[in-house]
């Protein structure tokens, strides 16, 4: 809508100025449209700046020394330093946090996809008793806050020896990610006509070769979006990840919240850790940016 008005406005302006360069006057309503457009642009720019301020400030802090951070207001680092990042990359208690987080997040994404792909295929292709109820029930799994599951997970994992492992966190996150993944993938799969399956069988494909060679490539953007959503949840989830780990599999987010040393809070290092925590999310978003909108509509666009 907005781009359309913009186009018509600029077209009128362009056409008019070439044909009758002197006498041309913008029609009143076109002028108003251009003004509205300009106002909208100003608004959106202001909003983006506003949203980016905390992130800028984090970046700003990560390049300052503690003295400068505590010293007074400086809009950019006066003594630019990479020391904070050096601390993180040299201290295993810091960088292992990233390794741990990435391990259980990847594990979670893999498990979720392995479970959700067949499930979503079944929901999209077959009719069985209670299929619609089951499908809806899946989503209700996400209605309880993670805290509800803390106690059962903690007790269960402690008694079977899963406590403080990457697998523990990955499995716990599956409880939330699998239903979401099934929902998103089902939408994408239902967008593929059933006749393609049948054509493949008629051509002579067995189910598994059809599924791997023809079907999965067809819904690859759906798989990408699903992986992104699982990543996002698992990467930012703090409560379960912190409670189910102690040393071996401690996630970066938990390390960040506990770093109050004897010398007080190490502001600069914390800020650097924050910046490094944002980066994986940015990378993933960059890869799926063209498909995210479709994913938010659960593939139903």
């Amino acid at each position: 809508m907005t781009s359309m008005t913009q186009n018509t406005a600029s077209q009128t302006a362009g056409a008019g100025s070439t044909q009758q360069p002197k006498r041309f006057v913008l029609p009143a309503n076109a002028k108003r449209r251009v003004n509205t457009q300009r106002r909208k642009n100003i608004g959106i720019t202001a909003y983006i700046l506003f949203v980016l301020v905390p992130i800028y400030w984090l970046l700003n802090m990560s390049f300052k020394s503690n003295e400068e951070i505590l010293g007074g207001l400086t809009l950019w680092p006066q003594n630019f330093t990479l020391e904070n990042y050096q601390v993180i990359f040299s201290d295993p208690s810091w960088y292992m946090g990233y390794v741990n987080s990435m391990t259980y997040v990847s594990l979670n994404v893999i498990i979720t996809l392995m479970v959700a792909l067949p499930a979503a295929y079944a929901f999209s292709r077959y009719k069985f008793t209670g299929d619609k109820h089951l499908f809806f029930w899946l989503l209700t799994n996400r209605m309880a806050p993670p805290a509800v599951f803390l106690l059962p997970f903690f007790q269960l994992y402690s008694s079977v020896g899963l406590f403080d492992t990457h697998l523990a966190v990955a499995l716990a996150h599956c409880l939330f990610n699998v239903p979401l993944a099934v929902w998103i993938l089902e939408g994408f799969m239902s967008g593929v006509p059933r006749e393609i399956d049948e054509t493949a069988y008629i051509d002579g494909y067995k189910f598994h070769t059809f599924f791997l060679k023809i079907f999965l490539p067809l819904i690859r953007s759906g798989i990408g979006v699903t992986a992104f959503f699982c990543f996002m949840f698992s990467w930012v989830e703090l409560l379960l990840a912190r409670t189910l780990t102690s040393v071996e599999a401690k996630p970066i987010a938990a390390i960040m919240t506990r770093t109050v040393g004897a010398t007080g809070i190490d502001w600069g290092v914390l800020a650097a850790a924050g910046v490094l925590t944002i980066i994986p999310g940015l990378l993933v978003i960059w890869f799926v940016r063209n498909h995210v909108a479709k994913g938010f509509a659960l593939g139903r666009v």
């Binding site: 049948e198 054509t199 069988y201």
Partner: protein
């Protein structure tokens, strides 16, 4: 390779999709399944293909029961109404796919793909993806994939419905040509009587899940076994008038009656339905024994170079198929002429008793159904 359906019934969720169908398709034959939407054309094809399993009955290939055999192991191919191709593969790979599965040598694959693509005029597009092609080209790709392997059964499920008129005519002709040289059974589903006649071969009429008649297309067209068959195989549908036969004459209503003529002399006195094809009624008499009927024009709809004229009198409605464009205003009184020697006669249960030019007894008509 012949295909036989024996008392095949399919019931889905308590709804009967196919009701006790018996049908034999001869090797090398071209079969048209003619029926309205929801008549069970697609259901029947899926049963033939083995995509669905019949609730009751058997499917025999060459006399061997293949009822439970999965579709991968039957040598068939199918073209759908929608343009179904693998969108992420090139046209070449699409066509080659059944051959790859059959482990045909690479050189042989290349040769056959190019041959088939050439036949269907898509050889310039082999390196493109299906979605970059026009609808007609996409459907040609699907057809090429169906024709590239030597399937013993080729199913076309209304393949031309989503194409424009010109292309439809063209492709229909091509399909017929391409299949002539083959020894495979072709089945072609259609809703249009004209398509069935144009394709020739064998026509099977499907009505509400039942096979009501099957035989050479022109036979079935000329001698429908009952009212359903006559209505199905006529576009616009055949006109039906209820009338009374006495010893000497036929009475449609108090003003419209005519003496029994040679063609329908055998009828016993009683009530009958008389059918007359829309194209047989004229605005001018063609024969001495044409019956003059005074009617009012309801609607004259122009369809291409033809006019479908709907007229009525107090007792019945008629549709006329006239060549040329005729414009009439509503409620214009006109006279139309029914050829009394071109009447179909049905009994009140809808069974055909007489067709123009040939006498039918009940049993003879039944033979056509099962023949």
């Amino acid at each position: 390779m012949s295909l036989t359906l024996q008392n095949v019934t399919r019931i889905v969720d308590g709804e009967c999709h196919i009701d006790n169908a018996c049908l034999t398709l001869e090797p090398g034959s071209f079969n048209v399944l003619l029926g309205r939407t929801l008549a069970g054309k697609t259901s029947l094809m899926r049963l033939m293909a083995g995509l669905d399993k019949p609730t009751e009955g058997q499917v025999l290939m060459n006399g061997v029961d293949v009822t439970g055999v999965p579709v991968q192991q039957r040598n068939i191919s199918m073209v759908y109404q929608q343009f179904i191709n693998y969108p992420n593969w090139t046209v070449y790979e699409n066509i080659a796919s059944p051959l790859r599965l059959a482990k045909v040598a690479e050189g042989e694959i290349r040769k056959r793909v190019h041959e088939t693509a050439e036949m269907l005029h898509i050889d310039p597009f082999l390196e493109r993806r299906p979605l970059e092609l026009s609808g007609g080209q996409q459907q040609r790709t699907a057809m090429a994939r169906a024709l590239v392997k030597d399937a013993s059964l080729i199913l076309f499920d209304e393949p031309l419905v989503n194409l424009d008129y010109k292309l439809r005519e063209e492709l229909r002709q091509e399909i017929r040509e391409l299949l002539k040289a083959r020894n495979s059974i072709a089945v072609y589903a259609s809703t249009e009587p004209n398509e069935a006649l144009a394709l020739g071969g064998v026509t099977t009429l499907l009505h509400e899940g039942k096979v009501i008649q099957s035989g050479p297309s022109s036979e079935v067209y000329r001698y429908p076994v009952n009212i359903d068959a006559a209505e199905l195989f006529s576009e616009p549908p055949i006109n039906l008038i209820r009338g009374t036969v006495s010893e000497t004459e036929v009475t449609f209503d108090s003003t419209v009656h005519f003496p029994l003529n040679q063609d329908i002399r055998g009828l016993k006195p009683g009530e009958y339905f008389f059918g007359v094809r829309p194209s047989h009624i004229g605005l001018v008499p063609h024969n001495d024994d044409d019956l003059e009927v005074s009617v009012l024009v309801e609607l004259a709809e122009i369809s291409g170079s033809e006019t479908f004229m709907h007229v009525k009198n107090n007792h019945f409605n008629l549709v006329l198929q006239l060549s040329g464009v005729h414009e009439y205003h509503t409620d214009t009184p006109i006279k139309v002429y029914l050829p009394t020697h071109k009447l179909f006669v049905f009994d009140l249960d809808g069974r055909m008793l007489q067709a123009p030019g040939r006498l039918y007894q009940g049993d003879a008509a039944m033979e056509v159904t099962h023949g």
